[in-house]
Symmetry: C2
Subunit: 418 residues, 2 copies
């Protein structure tokens, strides 16, 4: 995917020209916390933009507001916070998200509709606006081109590390840059997760072209990852192109291919970073399905295997349990025939024609000791394939997700819940 023209650079979302950022510590989750939790990303030039959002029917207030803004306008600024998802918060949640946009728009001298707002954290508690609202002017005032990394820091929740990338390609003799940051790390499931990804570029791209490219790249990156099979209320991918490089890219040209490959590369890298940093995860597993009758069948099989609690538990235990994989293939509702199923684990034949192979089980066990491996399933019924990137399921994941008391306790102290 990365072509020899592409090089990795520093700077994250503010690596492309004309993008500035800032982040503050507002104590959204807890007043005494000192970590960054409120960020602003802004293009000093007008943009074209594209976005994709959760398909969960329960959508956070911020998603509703961002969707309505991007439908009518191009997005030039993103306000993002961690510590509260502003989800299941009703009309008041929408008012809060709009108020954030209104205040920042005034500070930046742009229209409210040019701002997207992204929140992540606990569901069902009102936003502690008493700690956010007074800080918004300061947030806008401090925008600078060297604070891209702070955005990556401010949006993470249960992630163990910041996730960002920036690349430079050369088009028409000029450098064109792309930057991105994203966050995971629970509720990760195909069709978007509790994840954000913000991608910036200083290429100039017509909005319909940017929209199509964004959809395509999301389809083969964020929609191919699953950690726990739970789809969030807040997932958002936002792409802003501001043309500051002086280079315009158009479909059908060789430049488009280079640019489009770079977007795909950046999104896939971000998606894989999310999986690799999944909550309490110890394995990174690529589930490759081939030989399916249809694309839909290949997808059903890959997702059934990648979501099976029993399969994922066995990976956690370094158990190359091909029987559990075949059983998940069987209940996937795809068109499969047991006697045709082949399974390779970490490059070793584990199952042929639905039966065990001669591969010594010790060899299979040794192969799955690796932190990353591929499970290849050939249905031997056709030409369609699908790949999902996933993880094991660990006792620690469950333990980690047992309770969100801390959020509720703080909300009670804030007078936001009973």
């Amino acid at each position: 995917m990365p072509n020899n023209n592409m090089k990795t650079i520093e700077g994250g979302v503010t690596a492309p020209q004309g993008f500035v950022a800032n982040a503050l510590s507002c104590g959204i989750k807890k007043p005494t916390a000192t970590r960054l939790d409120l960020a602003l990303l802004y293009s000093t030039l007008p943009t074209t933009s594209a976005g994709t959002f959760t398909t969960n029917k329960v959508r956070a207030a911020c998603v509703r507001v961002s969707q309505s803004h991007i439908r009518r306008n191009d997005i030039r600024a993103i306000i993002a916070n961690s510590g509260n998802a502003n989800a299941c918060t009703g009309v008041e949640g929408i008012n809060v998200a709009r108020r954030e946009c209104r205040i920042v728009a005034k500070e930046l001298g742009i229209r409210q509709g040019e701002i997207a707002v992204c929140s992540t954290g606990v569901i069902g508690l009102p936003m502690p606006m008493q700690r956010i609202e007074p800080r918004l002017p300061e947030l806008a005032a401090g925008l600078a081109p060297d604070k891209g990394h702070d955005v990556a820091s401010a949006i993470i929740t249960s992630d163990t590390r910041e996730k960002e990338i920036a690349v430079e390609i050369t088009l028409q003799g000029k450098p064109v840059r792309l930057g991105a940051c994203c966050k995971g790390a629970g509720m990760i499931c195909p069709n978007m997760a509790t994840m954000f990804c913000f991608l910036t570029t200083d290429a100039a791209v017509a909005r319909p072209d940017l929209e199509k490219l964004t959809c395509d790249a999301v389809e083969t990156s964020f929609n191919r990852i699953t950690i726990d099979g739970d789809m969030s209320t807040n997932d958002t991918v936002l792409v802003m192109a501001n043309g500051a490089s002086g280079v315009t890219v158009r479909p059908g040209t060789p430049d488009w291919k280079t640019f489009s490959d770079a977007v795909h590369h950046v999104m896939l890298e971000m998606a894989l970073h999310i999986v690799q940093d999944g909550e309490r995860v110890t394995k990174f597993v690529t589930v490759e399905v081939e030989g399916a009758r249809t694309f839909a069948d290949a997808r059903k099989v890959a997702e059934a295997v990648a979501k099976s609690s029993l399969v994922k538990s066995s990976w956690n235990g370094n158990d190359p349990n091909w029987g559990r994989i075949v059983h998940a293939v069987g209940y996937s509702r795809a068109n499969v025939r047991e006697e045709l199923i082949d399974v390779d684990i970490a490059g070793l034949p584990a199952c042929r024609g639905g039966l065990q192979t001669d591969t010594p089980s010790d060899n299979l066990r040794e192969a799955v000791l690796a932190q990353a491996f591929t499970v290849r399933i050939d249905l031997n019924m056709g030409d369609a394939g699908y790949t999902v990137y996933t993880t094991d399921l660990s006792p620690e994941y469950v333990d980690f997700n047992r309770s969100e008391y801390a959020y509720w306790n703080q909300a009670k102290r804030d007078g936001l819940t009973k």
Copy 2:
């Protein structure tokens, strides 16, 4: 459901007249093990019978053989074993299952096609027939009317206890008995699980009536339970009616209502026993959905909530996390409107119209400390409802399912795998 005519009795599957059983310890999982692992249940009189089987496209050899037998014959005997599922074992697995039937048929003087065979345990390893086959004559020779409990013992795997029930009703002035035993406890998911249930009765029932009744009762019992969302290759429910009570029951009569209620009661009890004994489970949760536009919508919502790793983890942590419940409702693909969703947890209003209620969070937390509680979700869009019985997800579940090495190690010693 249980009517005042019904009383619980002892004896399990051999409580009804004319049923005998036996079980042996063959060391199927491990030669040195002393637990019962091979059972035979037999009706000394001809029967009518009905069965439902896994809908997994990967079906165990024993399921294939049992299905082909019950299609053409009424089943009079069931051979059941734990320790090996005889799944993903190909033609050799089918030959093995048929050979078991042939040997037992000869001992009992019945036809091979009158026998069903049910195996549960590890997937993908050949059956250790060298330890099973020589014991089959002894198994048949020791059949007795007081060994129903041994069948319940021999079929359990990761279950922590035997699951059986027997009831007596009075019809036409005569006692009519029903007995059942079942096993769980992992891979439990709607549309049948790694579970067996054998139900016997000494009522006389015409086969088409018994088949319809079995399907109906399975639909509202075993198809309503989920522990880990994994559907097994071996699920089997078998019902045998032998008429030994001298009472014939026919649909459309008051007796039928009494009998049918008893069958439903027995199956639901067995299904709930499976959930309550789920692998490393600490909570029994009833998810009741109402107010759905359609039955299919109600089912999607109930299953999404009951299968969500995040929701189940929160139950394990005694966290009354209604936000995660609403988020699972949202991704269920059912027709829902966030602003209409009400959620009650353990009888307390937790969410109204998609928003938090005034119920103090301390009260909600106290309510979910109970070992069993109900989550009631009203979609407020129609009249359809659906109920699923489920459990929490515990770190111990994952830990327990990390590896099945013991099986493979034994199979290697047996020369059945490399």
